[in-house]
């Protein structure tokens, strides 16, 4: 099975480990990733503040490039914000002829055209539904017993397009986590927003939201994320937020492919756990002990 692969800007630098661990995991599970060559930014939440058409054209460009490559495959997108923009563009172009006309008129500048048809899939959707917990369980080499993992879905992976999990009470990560031998930490904040989009402009508000999440995760060994912006937002400033709330809130934050990779006995190096900004010492010792 082949997938187009759209990493997105943050996976180039600030979320490099997410990109590398995803590629490594997919290779291990026998799925081929075709990175769209010359892909450009999807516009995230900024394009929409400048012009509605721009916020559709930018993602449409990447969809057109994927279609132009002649392959027929779903497009796998690890970052929730890119996933939302790509899917929104695909739907609007598919549904509304007026938008389709304008977008294609713009894309013509780059000799591209797009009429819809590429199915945009989030990484979690592919892991949960195409690969499935069974494959992870079969390939399990390094069980992680007793590890309490809090699944964090963020917001834009689930809403407004609720096509692979319940937008309010998601459960698609549970089976995957249990397949690794770890146990799912029971909390109700899995689908709450961490305010990452506001971290640069409205820091105090974003930190409040992060603090609530870390508070709720008390008792879990680590939080698992499926979006570079949530990851960065939860990792950065754990000390400052602990001071703000007046109690220790430090907790390890790992990407889902990293956790799954560990259970399939991929080396910590290959999963670039070294690049994670927040891995508590007890968590690292735990992983080392389990590796023996």
């Amino acid at each position: 099975m082949k997938y187009f692969y759209y990493p997105g800007c943050s996976l180039e630098h600030s979320a490099k480990e997410y990109d590398l661990s995803t590629r490594a995991l997919m290779r291990l599970l026998g799925r081929e990733l075709l990175e769209i060559e010359d892909w450009t930014c999807c516009g995230a939440s900024a394009a929409d503040t400048a012009s509605r058409l721009l916020s559709i054209v930018l993602p449409a460009r990447n969809l057109a490039l994927a279609q132009k490559s002649g392959e027929t495959a779903d497009m796998l997108v690890p970052c929730s914000s890119c996933y939302l923009n790509l899917k929104r563009a695909d739907q609007l172009i598919g549904r509304d002829s007026q938008t389709r006309g304008l977008v294609n008129e713009a894309l013509a500048e780059e000799g591209l055209s797009y009429g819809g048809g590429v199915r945009v899939r989030h990484l979690l959707d592919v892991l949960a539904n195409d690969i499935g917990a069974g494959a992870i369980a079969e390939g399990l080499k390094q069980s992680l017993p007793g590890l309490r993992v809090a699944p964090y879905y963020g917001c834009q992976a689930l809403r407004p397009f609720a096509d692979f999990d319940d937008p309010e009470q998601p459960h698609s990560m549970d089976s995957l986590i249990e397949a690794t031998g770890a146990s799912v930490f029971d909390w109700s904040m899995g689908a709450k927003c961490c305010g990452a989009g506001l971290m640069t402009t409205k820091k105090e508000l974003a930190q409040e939201l992060v603090a609530d999440l870390l508070d709720a995760a008390k008792g879990a060994d680590c939080i698992v994320t499926v979006c570079p912006m949530c990851q960065m937002n939860l990792e950065a400033g754990q000390k400052k937020i602990s001071r703000m709330r007046g109690r220790p809130l430090e907790i390890s934050i790992v990407y889902l492919p990293q956790l799954l990779g560990l259970s399939l006995a991929m080396s910590g190096g290959g999963l670039r756990l070294d690049l994670n900004l927040a891995l508590t010492r007890p968590f690292k010792q735990r992983l080392a002990a389990m590796a023996k």
Partner: protein, 189 residues
């Protein structure tokens, strides 16, 4: 209490984006589900429900003194739960568009950030995070802001997760033609 406000439905010029927004919101029955669902409603001076009401009643000037729509983190809870199925999160984005386009300077940080972000994409096709942040800090002209990001910057540098590029050095202009075409099309609509 507050001055009494002559009420009249918003003006109806053909292509005014503001009346476009109000047309989308007409079916709102002020049930308050959106405000109840909004994570950042506590910090907003006007709650989302009051914003829709002001749009419906055409109170444009007063609306754009509010910072509500800048606090929207596009988490789409409100769109999911609105019993009228209205595109509420998209409306918040549209209000940002109108505020930026018609230069209502009620927020000093968000417009420059989004501009820096889009300029970087316009130039390199992708966001060069370091360069984008420096351009944003320069635009905001408040030294305290960059200082607060230094610890995160240092950690990223140490881990090699951020390249140090100097602004304005390389050529760029990757999506220049695309941007121009889009602006042209948008204006013609």
């Amino acid at each position: 209490m507050a001055h009494s406000q002559a009420l009249g439905a918003p003006g109806h010029s053909a292509r005014d984006p503001f009346s476009e927004i109000s047309k989308n919101l007409r079916a709102c029955m002020q049930c308050g589900t959106c405000t109840g669902s909004c994570g950042s409603a506590a910090k907003m001076d006007y709650t989302p429900r009051q914003v829709w009401r002001m749009v419906q009643s055409g109170l444009k000037e007063e609306l754009f003194t509010s910072r509500t729509f800048w606090l929207c983190s596009s988490c789409y809870y409100c769109t999911l739960r609105c019993p009228r199925g209205l595109p509420l999160t998209d409306t918040m984005a549209a209000l940002k568009r109108v505020a930026t386009a018609e230069k209502y300077a009620n927020d000093r940080k968000s417009p420059p950030f989004y501009k820096a972000f889009l300029d970087s994409v316009r130039k390199y096709g992708r966001v060069r995070e370091a360069e984008m942040m420096t351009r944003y800090f320069l635009a905001v002209k408040n030294p305290a802001l960059p200082l607060s990001f230094v610890p995160l910057g240092m950690k990223l540098l140490a881990k090699g997760k951020m390249e140090l590029q100097l602004p304005g050095v390389s050529r760029g202009g990757k999506l220049e033609r695309l941007y121009k075409k889009v602006m042209e099309l948008e204006a013609a609509q």
